[in-house]
Symmetry: C2
Subunit: 80 residues, 2 copies
């Protein structure tokens, strides 16, 4: 079973990398950009066949390794 | 208008970071993981109000800055 985890900075947490990208886009002539925030995506393959169990285990992975829950939030999407 | 860009390594491109995460998950006792690949996500706010135009401009941003299209592919999702 495949799953996608998206880890993004929580609102209010400064994102200097996103700001740098915004500046670079502006420098390239893309003037219509009002904000950029960068996050991470993890595409996992798990041996679980039950989506509920897969999601629970991946949630535990996020809590322990994939996300820093002090400043980041995560979403888990089971892709079948 | 908000949009999400997901940049992932193309199939066949080695992902040492993903491998390291897979090893770390295994070390933490998550034994059911068969593969991990890491990518990037960009959450953009654009001033375009037409989804088609927004998508076209963001596609150009991906080609020029956000993705290395030799080894990465990207998807653009307009989130309204």
């Amino acid at each position: 079973m495949r799953a996608r985890v998206v880890v993004t900075l929580k609102a209010g947490v400064l994102d200097p990398q996103g700001k740098a990208i915004e500046g670079a886009l502006s420098g390239l002539g893309f003037s219509g950009v009002d904000g950029v925030r960068q996050g991470k995506v993890f595409d996992l393959v798990t041996r679980h066949t039950d989506p509920t169990k897969a999601k629970a285990e991946i949630g535990a992975m996020c809590e322990r390794l994939l996300a820093n829950t002090v400043i980041e939030s995560y979403t888990i999407e089971i892709m079948g």
